[in-house]
């Protein structure tokens, strides 16, 4: 099914508090009521518009704290925008935090069911896809070992495999592909291309410019919550790299 994301004039504001902000009543008396109030606010995302049409993949680049992950979460329905609009069509698959909801003491099998159901499948659907998920993640008999015995690459393989089996119409990926080894990365990229061909709308955050150039149809360069420029991957990546090197030189 084709997926679609439309973001219009999005704005998200965070309040920041005094570092000694009391979180307990007792501390209010000790530290004073003034520190309860926000000291200020900043816009994590502001005046941001973008559109991902079915079968397209958009890359997000920019320094840490530019608002990329906040944008992905807002699109996924976490938090409420203070300005603007988001509209999404289709089932969302998200790879933001690996292992959300998973527990190190539970086996891979338990965690697989858990994350499948958290991702929006029914138990029955997870059960029928179980073998295929394990095979894709190349976990074999490790699936019955506790998650704490897994390497981070194995955890990522399991997480990606579960999301890949939820038939997402919209895929939100935050910088997780780099965790896997080269062979598995290639496999992920093939899957992503397949989803793209089937009409999914995909948003990818990455610091790997080769990956961005290879996969994306359009790239947005974000800085301090707004778009610096967007367009052809080649051009935008080149501009971004140029500005980073000149910044690095300037700070030296």
């Amino acid at each position: 099914m084709p997926g679609k994301i439309i973001v219009q004039n999005l704005g998200k504001k965070f309040r920041w508090y005094h570092p000694d902000r009391p979180t307990k009543l007792k501390q209010v008396f000790v530290r004073g009521i003034k520190k309860l109030r926000p000291m200020g606010e900043f816009w994590a995302v502001r005046q941001l518009s973008l559109e991902v049409t079915p079968g397209h993949m958009v890359g997000l680049i920019g320094h840490n704290g530019a608002g990329k992950s906040t944008l992905l979460r807002l699109i996924g329905g976490v938090g409420k925008p203070d300005e603007g609009n988001i509209s999404t069509h289709g089932r969302i698959g998200a790879l933001l935090d690996l292992g959300a909801g998973s527990h190190p003491d539970l086996t891979g099998r338990d965690n697989l069911f858990l994350s499948g159901v958290i991702a929006g499948l029914t138990r029955r659907e997870v059960a029928s896809r179980f073998d295929s998920i394990v095979a894709y993640a190349e976990l074999g008999e490790f699936i019955d070992n506790p998650l704490r015995t897994y390497s981070s690459g194995m955890q990522m393989r399991l997480a990606f495999s579960v999301v890949a089996h939820t038939d997402p119409d919209i895929l939100l990926i935050d910088e997780v592909l780099s965790v896997g080894d080269a062979a598995f990365q290639e496999k992920c990229i093939q899957s992503i291309k397949k989803y793209k061909a089937n009409g999914s709308a995909i948003l990818l955050i990455s610091h790997d410019m080769t990956q961005i150039r290879e996969l994306c149809d359009e790239v947005y360069w974000l800085k301090d919550g707004h778009t610096v420029t967007h367009g052809e991957p080649e051009q935008v990546c080149a501009q971004y790299l140029e500005s980073t090197t000149s910044e690095a030189k300037a700070s030296n």
Binding site: K24, A94, L96, A100, H103, D105, R123, L172
Partner: protein, 273 residues
């Protein structure tokens, strides 16, 4: 935020099928999360579930010594009476205390796109309900020893449990939502529940409360609730339908108010925790 979903008309058959599918999905999500908590809790312990039973049994033992031997409070069938009180109150108390920290202890889930946060208070109430149900065989043995008999009136118990479930879920929504914004509420609720342990007829009978306090004492919704359990279990009588009905109505109101407030505040969860 306008999250548009692929539904053309709201009264088509497709829409209703979608809703049923969503409910099945929600049930499965609840089940997985409850099972996760159970597995984590008993992982690697030798006694496993027995730990959950030891607490109420130990207290009933101590209370038996204190209030039947040292000070005689004159409760008839003391062990049955107190164990019912302990188990029912534990379900109520643990559910609420857990609900107040459940958003914080599931931080990564709350921050995960598409996760239905509203399932979390249900997880705490359901998980503790399962502990109650697992303790029922022991309760049954004690009831039989103290002379209770099996009768058709026990079939009313599921209704009482459902009423308590809805009532607790309503409060759990409120507690879970507010304690994210004000952590004090969690501590406050904990203290209030410890105090109410003694203001609820757990090991003494309501008739022991002096008549001038009776009116205010009976405002505690747990008073009619405990009666609704003890009537069928101990006395072989049906619960008082009037008080159960009014409790059920209060419970429904609490769930509606609690759920609305929870949904409203839950947009802020991700940045507050």
């Amino acid at each position: 935020m306008s999250q548009k979903i692929n539904v053309t008309t709201d009264n088509s058959i497709w829409f209703h099928l979608m809703r049923i599918a969503e409910l099945i999905q929600l049930r499965d999500l609840l089940r997985e999360l409850v099972m996760r908590d159970m597995k984590i809790r008993y992982e690697g312990t030798a006694l496993g579930f027995a730990w959950t039973l030891i607490n109420p049994l130990l207290f009933v033992g101590v209370f038996y010594f204190l209030f039947n031997v040292v000070l005689d409070v004159g409760t008839s069938r003391f062990t049955s009476y107190t164990l019912i009180g302990m188990l029912i109150y534990t379900w109520f108390q643990s559910s609420l205390v857990e609900a107040c920290s459940i958003a914080r202890s599931n931080r990564d889930l709350v921050r995960r796109p598409q996760f239905k946060v509203a399932v979390l208070p249900l997880v705490s109430v359901t998980g503790n309900l399962i502990h109650l149900l697992l303790a029922f065989p022991i309760l049954a043995v004690i009831l039989l020893i103290e002379g209770s008999r099996l009768s058709a009136v026990l079939l009313t118990l599921p209704i009482v449990i459902i009423v308590q479930f809805i009532f607790t879920v309503g409060l759990a929504f409120l507690g879970a939502a507010i304690s994210v914004l004000y952590r004090d509420i969690g501590y406050l609720i904990d203290v209030i529940l410890r105090v109410f342990f003694f203001l609820t007829p757990i090991f003494y009978e309501v008739s022991k409360v002096p008549s001038q306090f009776q009116a205010i004492y009976s405002l505690n919704p747990l008073v009619p609730l405990l009666d609704a359990y003890r009537n069928p279990l101990i006395h072989g009588l049906p619960p008082s339908w009037n008080s159960l009905l009014s409790l059920g109505l209060i419970a429904l109101l609490l769930v509606i108010v609690g759920y609305k407030l929870f949904v409203k505040i839950s947009h802020r969860f991700a940045e507050e925790i």
